[in-house]
Symmetry: C3
Subunit: 654 residues, 3 copies
């Protein structure tokens, strides 16, 4: 990104409108401070109306019109949704559900990630696009595909099964090694050859856990491979091309740690529900995730709604000011661009009730007035471009753990992302910046490393977490951490990486039994830190750790709930054997921050208020419908409902 | 109908019983005042035990036996459910679900509406039936099919897909016109030819809205076409044959405005749930609908239960007297006949626990005693035959709007029929008679026209509604009216038919934004008419209208909730941007009636009590379990629990 | 069983562990008092890694190792789950769901009960097993298959359809007789030949009730036929072989009255949910059922968990002592052996979080310490081996009634097993021993026969129940009894077996109408015995009986709810037309016991405490988390939370 203006704009789909509207669009964009339009995301059927017959003239004109108007173009490869003719000629390209239902044409994304017909036709189109537009002066970034896997994260068709077998053979080498990893000695599942292995479609009962996670891994890889193939086609035409694809926040079906390595710019789509008073937590966390995926580099908000979306059962509009709040939150947490889906609200199609920058009511409307005001405001924030967001607290985030804890036949149904948000919230309420890290990552820059539900840890990751303490920093591990290795085999001898592991030593405990709590049941914690737990209990055996809180009744009565160990090496190891309620979590965060010597921006928890520092300027945002006065790092700040501002080093300047 | 006795009786299935029971049946029918028996609805397998082999002897005897006993026969074409041999020989005739599951033999109605094998075999049987019985003296009416679409309103099989393509080509002419109407520029859905178009079976996500509504329309038409084909066969044998098929109240899957044009007598099946204290509202509304479908002509209640049904999870019996109440309600609202399913309760089969006129316990039973008493009572109501039910209030009812508001990817999940019942209830509680009208219908006979959820309005319908006001009458439009045109394209520039439409002018408002409410949330209304709203809010911009009520908090605070405009032409236009709660709705109805100069039978709302005038006699019914004393049009009336009576012009006579 | 020690141990799956662990296993087993290991349940894939290629060497070594260690072996036939190669070569062997989905390899039990390929390969393996191991000195019992039907109780594939037709032709002889029994005159379902008949897969609406129950009966028979075929192969090798298969308590899909005739030892798997404070009722009832299935012979607990299972959404561990309590409950109710799934907790596979006798934490753990203590304690209970459990109260239990009342299109959704548990609980709370009997069984040894929901009664069973009263004993019939015959045809003329039946005469009532209650609604009972009813009401017409309680309001107001008749013959007949609440049921049980002259161990209801006498020793168990002091048959007993003890004739001895 060479501009010193924060990118501003959205998806632009002029093929839905008569030609005369295009000129009005450019005029309105200019007035609204729009810098950027994403073009072509769903244009395949118009660009290639029948196989091998191309119509680029209209797109030439769109790009020229935008360029003349001073609007840069993010050009999509247009492969997000194939035209109906593809399925008509290649019905085997359609995805198949776990129940064997072949999905139909009529919405979007109707292709199996492993379809050779889809891949062949998509890459042919991408080559045409790259040859024609790679050097168009309007085009600054390639948008490959779109929201990979959002509707079809996996497919159970024959081509997928064949590709899965190839993937497995590459991973395991021999069928014996697969049998070992999958534990097929259980339930008579031993495979005689890779030919016998299938995808985990509907079964009589809960299936093999390792087969299931391998199919999750394969499916993420299959989508990523599609992205990579398109990118390579573009690079073969223009080696300097810059490419991205839009992530979807904390998305279950794509391991973004792997994906992040393949994109030149991290970009994200996010649609927090305005009806959910807690959605700002999800929003803040995913903004921090995008920054973390890029190793701290600026990222791009590729899509958000100006107001309501269309795909929830009840689609509530954003409050006045709330889209500004969401946008500034992105900038404060590392974004260098704010784009929307979409510029002009459609009159037809599935998303005609999705809000846009120009609504059905036209430019003379609340929504468009806010769009213009935001465009003007972003112009003044150019000094933040490229600036980092410093953090000394890290939360371990891991797709394998996500996949594992949400499998059936585990001790209790758990929701990984909601647990991550809950633990993140403790820091958000104190105004403490957080990065996310992969479990095997180097965490030496952090003073506090928090590992909630770090269920799957390979040997290296177990050691890495142990090192946090031995090097003198603070480690917090949550219940169910280190229970499984990368094959989802149980770690024997007290979990937490297994008997005598670096993690057990760092924490000074081992775990003998699990005692999940029924829904809605709480457990009282007593001791130095009293409180309430939910969801989970364990029988924890201290081996060096002090008991901070103990369970007070039921099966676990008298056993530790929270422990703390002053470890050799000067570090501190905490273990938390339950899901603390909000107040208890606040008290724990306070203790952890103290141990780590980290100062919080808020003296105590401030629900609904956030703050973060970027480029020396402090952002403060109010996600509540009330006027609020808060003290942030010593400064008193007044905020309107859904209000937000940036403070300079000296105080409030906006 | 030539008889001057109200028809009374029910479905008669003697093939389930030994021959000796038939004579007892006729004797019992005579004692019970039964005039009419519907015969042959599910007799195909007995009439044609194998393809082309017919056995009519038993049916000859049934018709002769009934005729000799003085019982007229409504003769079914027997095509409601094909015999097992059809699917055995033509498995492609079986219907297919949205998930591709081909349904099996073993219940009923197991045919695709577009199956050529079903159609061919059904029409062959109908020809035989017509040739044999069209001039039988017992037969007074043909009952074609049965409850078309009740279990299989649509099918996703190959023949349906082919028929859908034919239907689309007829509707749109060219694929370009289909692409325009369906908005296929969105999401890369452009079709190259009709061959590429399919039925909307399971898709990756919400599909094309216009494809979906077209498949709804096609499916209703496909069933209607089956009805028409059978009727034409009968008419080719007997040009004077009178034909009906039984409707099912306010039924989602068949557009009865179109169907009503094809039947000689409107007939209806209705089964209000005795466990639901509000089911009398549904009952009254659908009785009024049947009258309205026939343009005011008398109609026939083809089926009801004497007590419990079998197909709910919990099947509660009717209270003592409640079947009489339901029956008299029908007569009062325009029926000239009261029939039941069925005469004698089956010992086997799916509906053996469905109540009947002769229950399992035999004739010496509460149910049969009530059957006899009702038969005697109906004999005295012959003066009402053919009499009209006058109404000056009309509610707009529209299948396209129903289909549209219940689609996914709309601002909020809505339930069209429940909304219609709610708005209807306001008039029922005041004893005001209501007709239903199609959106494009001539309403010049009505002083008040009410349009709740009139979501889809074509240009003509927009104009029609505007005319209500310009001609000096009162129009009430509810939220979400006029949002879409017939292609489900959004109307730009303030909805309500679009910028500057006759509807916007009539109401003096335009609508800028939607703000649906979460389930269970209410919104306080303030102003001249205070109250509570639910479900929906909008940002309404007055352009001439006065604000009657305003929203008091949240996103819409201060914006109009209810507006009223004294329009040029002398009429009045009301707009209601929320779903009023019961009390608020009562207050609104009061205001609308005043504006329209309509006097109500009840001075204020009477929950659970209904009244209506037919042929100069006023009916009053009590749908509650309490004794009630009410003042109806100035007369004090006492009613037993579930009691009912007819008042003469001078007062109570029954 | 020749041992005079109660069998103790569990499933042993050494193929999941390295060879060196096997020796540690035997040592740990010896220390824990383990006598018995079940081997080979899921070993097919290891024993026959490819079709016709066998590897028995490892199993030879396992059996020898156990035998040397003094551990007897229950040898499984290893056919519970076929290897992946079977489905790879015979995809038609996979089961098919009601929706036509063919289930995949990857969990277990993936075979259609009617698959010829499965049957052929399974029997070939069993022959090899029998030839090799029938005379191995370690093997004392054959464990055929495993939990037949637990995941796949039925299949809708082509082979099942063909086998169903054969089964129907055997049952009905002619298609006319099938048409009569199925009542195909209803809904045009008449079949022309058996070829036209199919399995009841997904249909347009509720299907034929008799087809449905016949498919239930066929499916139970198809599984039983698999068991019988394996047993015959073993007997052809060793005529003295002793065989069992593990039942699953009160299991909907297998008619264990028929199965029990085919097993030499009744064995059972039971997993009461520790999170359910009422699960001890289910546990006690199924223990009594196992004893009853064997006609009073001792039975074997084949599987239980030492603590948590893995297959519930939330898997709570057993409390300290609770596994001992469950085990002693079995012994007290007739078991001569206590086995577990499984010996050593797996590290991989679907059930790795299922507790075991050696948990993940290793032998130094709460669970294993309890395992050892229980082994020691069971050694002292050898005097109970072979001893009977006397009972003079019988509850009628019937799979056809279960199947019938849970069908759709019945008056109300009912849950058969929960109703049985509720009626059983009344006796459990008073410490009265209960046997279960089939509806047509000889009950002459019982003083009180209780028939809840005895919905389906053939003529013989109707007479049998009538005889209870005529011979001078007490009969209690619950609502919905005797409504249907074995073809599910309604009994005409007042239900309870039909007009003038022995059952109507015994009770002195007939039933005219049903009036099911909505969920959560209660009905007040007045009269001699006041109380509350739920779920159900009826219109009961007394014909000789006295009214004990009457319904007090609503549709049934004034009609009898509970009746009692002093019948000719000296017996007493009770009829209960509602589901009594707990207190009302306690009062009724008191009256019934008085009428029958049966003395209860507890003077009044003792919730959560149970007692039963076996071999002259009285067992008392406390299923609550509180200390309890109770008086049992005149003796005061003190019990810890989840505590249990055996009293000698003189008093407490343990």
């Amino acid at each position: 990104m060479t501009s010193q203006v924060i990118r501003y704009g959205g998806d632009y789909n002029p093929e839905q409108w008569p030609r005369e509207v295009w000129d009005e669009d450019v005029t309105l964009m200019q007035r609204a401070g729009v810098t950027t339009a994403t073009v072509g995301v769903f244009s395949w059927a118009k660009l290639e109306p029948s196989p091998g017959e191309y119509d680029f003239a209209w797109l030439d004109e769109v790009l020229d019109t935008l360029h003349t108007g001073g609007i840069e173009v993010i050009l999509a490869t247009a492969t997000a949704s194939p035209p109906p003719w593809l399925a008509h000629r290649h019905p085997e390209s359609l995805p198949v559900t776990i129940d064997g239902v072949r999905l139909a044409v009529g919405s979007r994304q109707q292709y199996s990630p492993s379809s050779s017909a889809y891949r062949e036709h998509a890459l042919r189109l991408v080559r045409k696009m790259a040859e024609r537009y790679a050097r168009h002066p309007a085009v600054t970034l390639w948008h490959i595909g779109n929201e990979y896997g959002c509707h079809v994260p996996r497919s159970y068709d024959e081509e997928s099964a064949a590709a899965f077998r190839v993937w497995l053979e590459k991973r395991y080498g021999t069928i014996d090694e697969l049998n070992r990893a999958w534990g097929t000695a259980f339930w008579s599942q031993r495979y005689g050859s890779f030919e016998e292995v299938g995808v985990p479609s509907r079964m009589p009962t809960d299936g093999n856990a390792t087969q299931a996670i391998d199919f999750d891994r394969f499916s993420s890889d299959a989508l990523l491979e599609l992205y990579r193939a398109e990118r390579e086609v573009i690079r073969s035409v223009d080696p300097d091309a810059v490419a991205t694809t839009n992530f979807m926040g904390l998305f279950r079906h794509a391991d973004y740690w792997a994906w992040a390595r393949e994109v030149d710019v991290i970009s994200d789509d996010l649609y927090p529900d305005p009806a959910d008073s807690r959605s700002h937590i999800l929003a803040a966390a995913t903004r921090d995730l995008m920054r973390s995926l890029g190793g701290g580099r600026p990222w791009l908000l590729m899509e958000q709604a100006t107001s309501a979306v269309n795909w929830r059962p009840i689609n509530v509009p954003k409050h006045r000011g709330q889209n500004r709040l969401h946008s500034l939150q992105c900038v404060a947490r590392g974004a260098d661009g704010i784009l929307h889906f979409q510029w002009r609200q459609s009159v037809a199609g599935t998303e005609k009730f999705h809000s846009a920058m120009v609504p059905h009511a036209g430019p003379d409307s609340r929504i468009h007035r806010e769009v213009r005001a935001l465009g003007a405001e972003l112009k003044d924030l150019g000094d933040l471009i490229g600036q980092p967001v410093p953090a000394v607290v890290a939360i371990v985030l891991d797709w394998d753990s996500w996949r594992a804890v949400e499998q059936p036949s585990t001790p209790r149904q758990l929701t990984y992302d909601q647990t991550i948000y809950a633990w993140y919230e403790g820091f958000l309420r104190r105004g403490v910046a957080v990065d996310f890290v992969a479990p095997g990552a180097d965490t030496s820059g952090y003073r506090l490393v928090v590992a909630p539900l770090a269920n799957v840890l390979n040997d290296a990751a177990v050691s890495r977490l142990g090192e946090v303490v031995t090097r003198g920093d603070v480690l917090v591990a949550g219940y169910q951490s280190g229970v499984l290795d990368e094959d989802l085999h149980a770690r024997l001898g007290g979990y937490l990486g297994g008997a005598g592991s670096a993690l057990q030593r760092a924490l000074g405990v081992r775990v003998e039994e699990f005692a999940p709590l029924p829904d809605g049941v709480t457990t009282a914690l007593t001791g130095d830190l009293a409180g309430q737990g939910t969801v989970w209990q364990e029988i924890v055996i201290p081996v060096g750790a002090q008991v901070v809180s103990a369970f007070s009744d039921g099966f676990t009565a008298g056993h530790p709930a929270v422990t703390r160990q002053d470890a050799t090496g000067g570090g501190v190891g905490w273990y938390v054997a339950t899901e603390p309620d909000t107040d208890t979590r606040d008290a724990l965060v306070d203790r952890w921050l103290t141990d780590a010597g980290v100062e919080a921006a808020f003296a105590s928890a401030e629900p609904g208020i956030e703050t973060v520092v970027r480029g020396g300027r402090r952002f403060v945002g109010n996600h509540t419908p009330e006027h609020r006065v808060v003290t942030v790092a010593g400064t008193s700040v007044e905020l309107e409902p859904y209000g937000a501002l940036f403070l300079s080093a000296e105080g409030a300047d906006r």
